[in-house]
Amino acid sequence: MVDPRMSVIDERLRGVGKVVAVSSGKGGVGKSLVASTLALLLAKKGYKVGLFDLDFTSPSTHKILGIEDVHPKEEKGIVPPIVHGLKYMSMVYYSGERAAPLRGADVSNALIELLSITKWGKLDFLVVDMPPGIGDATLDLIRLIKRISFLVITTPSQLAFETVRKLVSLLNELKIPVIGVVENMKMNPSNTIRQQTEELGVKFLEEIPYDPKVEEAIGSTSKLSNTELAQRVEKITPKILEPERDKPQ
């Protein structure tokens, strides 16, 4: 027996330019905030942007962007609604705010289902908010999406960076492009993460200071756009706009 869904994923993503997977080795580093802000900023520049929340068990981009009461349209597939200038897709359309107790195989199946039925149309960028770590969703995306590159988020903590080291090593081994590493929630001046990132052979893109105002901005795109976090994410957009680098040798 053959799972026919795999055969249609390429077709569904045919009109999508660059897929940017915003990822982290562990949770709680601000990955979803960076992914949401990046998608908003790219859309503000006039690009056609999609935001796909793949953090199925803990989706949060809808909360960050204040998205509620919207649903995808059924048109020989699923067409994501446009919210704040973004084509927005998330499991919350189906799970609501209930807990989704999914095992790895279920995460894979749900991911493949959404990839095979979602009609993105033409997009310059599809920003993907990944679940943390190197679990099923990460492995599936690497397997199923050809033009994918990773933006990796860490904090100054060595605990966070150790998990980044593993993620980046895996991506390098699999020859998946890594756009670079962003250090979020920085509280003290230090070059440690920058140096360690460069030792991995990956670009250090930006540091984002810890900003208590971000918490107040959750749910409001206008407030979010005025945070220090947004200003710093703005600085990394030129790296996202660059044509895809050659895969590492």
Binding site: M1, V2, D3, P4, R5, M6, S7, V8, E11, E74, E75, K76, G77, I78, M91, Y93, Y94, S95, G96, R98, A99, A100, P101, L102, R103, A105, D106, V107, N109, A110, E113, L114, S116, I117, K119
Partner: protein, 136 residues
């Protein structure tokens, strides 16, 4: 009509297999549809008939429905999924992404959402038959 998206996937997968097996014409496509996804069979059949490329002109699509059998990972209880116990929203959500069943369905014995779908989740391509290139 989400069934169209599934039908497109079936046609794409069947075309890939036909190509690999060197078929010049496909005569029969067997599809298994799991009850968990609650696919509307007449819509799926119609979509297949509208989407089929020239190579499938004389192909018959045989659709078999598989009961959705679930097994609780906590107490081991096995049971068959029944749509009638679900409200409309839950039913629709499971239709689009069957894994959200873990939100709406619990083991009838112990109440756990930690179950596995033994069979009957979604749409599978079971087999295709056809005429090879060079055969009369």
């Amino acid at each position: 009509m989400h069934e169209w998206a599934l039908a497109e996937a079936v046609i794409a997968a069947a075309s890939e297999i036909a190509e690999k097996e060197g078929l010049r014409e496909v005569r029969e496509v067997k599809i298994k549809v799991g009850e968990l996804q609650q696919v509307e069979l007449d819509v799926l059949e119609f979509a297949l008939s509208q989407l089929k490329p020239a190579m499938f002109k004389h192909a018959k699509f045989r659709i078999e429905v598989a009961k959705a059998e679930l097994r609780c990972r906590v107490c081991g209880h096995r049971w068959f999924f029944k749509t009638e116990k679900l409200d409309e929203n839950a039913s629709e959500a499971i239709h689009f992404v069957p894994e959200v069943a873990h939100i709406y369905i619990k083991c009838p014995k112990c109440g756990s959402p930690d179950f596995e779908t033994l069979q009957g989740r979604g749409v599978w391509l079971e087999s295709i038959k056809g005429v090879k290139k060079g055969d009369g």
